[in-house]
């Protein structure tokens, strides 16, 4: 454990939007962008916090008690601008950008849109591209049965990490609150990923000028592994790691091997 996680709120967009950021650890700054389901503090973030100060912003609208914040971010471009502003408001000097799935798209686009913003880039099975011969069943997953979601996300839906991520409280009142929050979170993130998470990132990725690591699970049932090559091809000098026996959430299905890849890359 890297010690306590603290909360900070930062006003951006001419004070219209308050971004909630969870912060932990010590060391060079690292920005973590969470997936569609919202921010859940995980063992991966603990490990990162052992050598970095981890800043994990919550996507607007997903912070408990502040659901309407999503209304203040009208477009995907405003989302990127608000994060660019966050980096300067937090006073971060070229943080590492690390994002997973939806967050991977955001991190990649920040590096492409603002080439001087980040120092390096780690993408864990990011959204953001579209290949006609490898459709991404995002709409099917989001509008399907909650019980089917793990089949899109994990090669090992019964692993401890996978079950922890899907757990809901037993108390009925807490359960209703948790389900409502989890559902709304997906509503807030999919605002910028619906029905197809393609905002033209593929036409900007050549602008990424920092070292980049792309990690993918070979059995990814949400964003097929073919996209790993596509990201690798478009980001000059990037490194692609494909993990066997591994689904979309690489750190849940292969915690050690994914950590080895990430930590080696970050150690330079």
């Amino acid at each position: 454990m890297a010690g306590a996680v603290r909360d900070e709120t930062v006003e951006v967009c001419d004070s219209r939007l308050r971004l909630h950021v969870k912060i932990a650890g010590d060391g060079p700054p690292l920005l973590f962008f969470h997936p569609l389901s919202g921010l859940a503090w995980s063992p991966l973030l603990d490990r990162l916090a052992e050598r970095h100060t981890v800043y994990a912003p919550e996507h607007p609208g997903t912070s408990p008690g502040d659901p309407q914040a999503i209304r203040e971010v009208q477009t995907y471009w405003e989302l990127l601008l608000s994060y660019e502003e966050l980096v300067s408001k937090l006073g971060l000097e070229r943080p590492v950008g690390l994002g997973q799935s939806f967050g991977g798209m955001v991190a990649a686009d920040l590096a492409a849109s603002f080439p001087q913003l980040l120092s390096s880039l780690v993408l864990l099975s990011p959204l953001g591209l579209w290949l006609d011969d490898a459709p991404i069943p995002l709409m099917e997953m989001v509008s399907g049965l909650p019980a089917d979601v793990p089949t899109y996300l994990y090669a090992h839906p019964d692993s401890e990490a996978a079950r922890a991520a899907q757990a809901i409280p037993a108390d009925p009142a807490q359960q209703a609150k948790a389900i409502a929050q989890a559902t709304w979170n997906v509503g807030c993130t999919t605002k910028f990923a619906w029905p197809i998470a393609d905002h033209g990132l593929g036409r900007r990725l050549h602008r990424v000028q920092v070292p980049a690591l792309i990690v993918w699970g070979r059995e990814d049932a949400l964003v097929p592994v073919g996209y790993a090559k596509e990201f690798g091809r478009r980001i000059a000098g990037s490194r692609v790691e494909v993990l066997d026996d591994c689904g979309h959430v690489v750190q849940a299905d292969q915690p050690e091997r994914s950590w080895t890849a990430i930590s080696r890359f970050l150690a330079g």
Binding site: G144, P146, I179, T183, W184
Partner: protein, 410 residues
Amino acid sequence: MKVSLFEQVPYRYLPEGFENQHTSVVTAPYQVVEPARMTESLFSAYAELMHGARAGFDGICVTEHSQSSYDISPNPTLLASAVACAARAEQLDVAITVLGRSLGKTREPLKIAEEYALLDCVSGGRLIAGFPVGLSYDANLNASLPAVETRERYREHRELILKAWSEPRPFPWNGRFEKYGQVNIWPRPVQQPHPPIWIPGTGSPGTLRDILQHDYVFVYLSWDGPKLTGRQVFDRYWELADELGRDRNPYRLAFLQVIAVSETDERAEREYARHLEAHYRSGLGAIPHTAMAVPGYAEPAAIEGMLRSTGPAGMLSRMKTATYAEIVDSQVAIVGSPATVADQIEAFVREFRIGNLLVMLQNGSMPRDLTEKNISLFAEEVLPRLRPVWDAEGWENHWWPRAAAIEGAV
């Protein structure tokens, strides 16, 4: 009391057990369709609406759903327009109610403004303009619009349409979703500043408040009949009306009811039972519940409220296996002889102060001859009992098309 014939446009020949293998929306497989039978299904809906107009109903109602097997009506103004022109040619005084083009789903709100205006013109000022948000599967899956923006789109589109109908000069529109340089639609509604506006909904407090504040009509499309969820929604509506200083004029409220009439109760069961069961099972029963609320469509407080609700549950979750007994006992459908049907309707209409009744007389696999019998019997023997229900109270209906006044002036 105003009584209108409400029709959906189902494919009437779904294979037995369709609901056990398929959904009725979004991904419903078109391979089950025989083209000639599709043609017949669509034409029957038109013919039955005309049959209703001739039989003396006050209005006809149609709805919009895309990519669905239970209501093949991707643009209800098409069917409404055919009925409006034919009814005019036959000099039938019938309201044309479109319930309606979905404003949270559309990418072309001005097309809706134009289509409704044209309908109002060709019908001689007989349009009732329905402004629904749109179901989640339609807005967020079929039209693939982000769920969290559905209601914001709805509000902007409604404001734009109302302005386009009444603003005398061309105007620019710099909206959040729509931008137009010069809005100047042709034609405009003959009912100015706008035709009566009816808002279909499921009865959430926010929707009811919006309707009463704007002085529109609330159309409760519950599919649950008056018994199951009706009381809490109607009570909430009238209490809110009191709070907002609106009168309890029954014409502020419209309600949809499925009805099947025959000569006797026994004969009604024999004729309609299997069609009603098939209708609920393969239509509403085959919509996955997740498709009715794509994440973002409902606010977190609303989801929490639904999950914690201890109020009466509707039939929706049980539609897939609905039996005739369940359907009739719950009044999801009211079935029987004219006297049985009229007694039941009159009781709940008075109790809940319903001034506009929409009756659905075709269901699922029901063939045209049986549907037309249902329409005729209802019009001859039930409708006359319902029409005077509110006469004694002397309310004025401010939410009915002003056709007569307009034609008198022309």
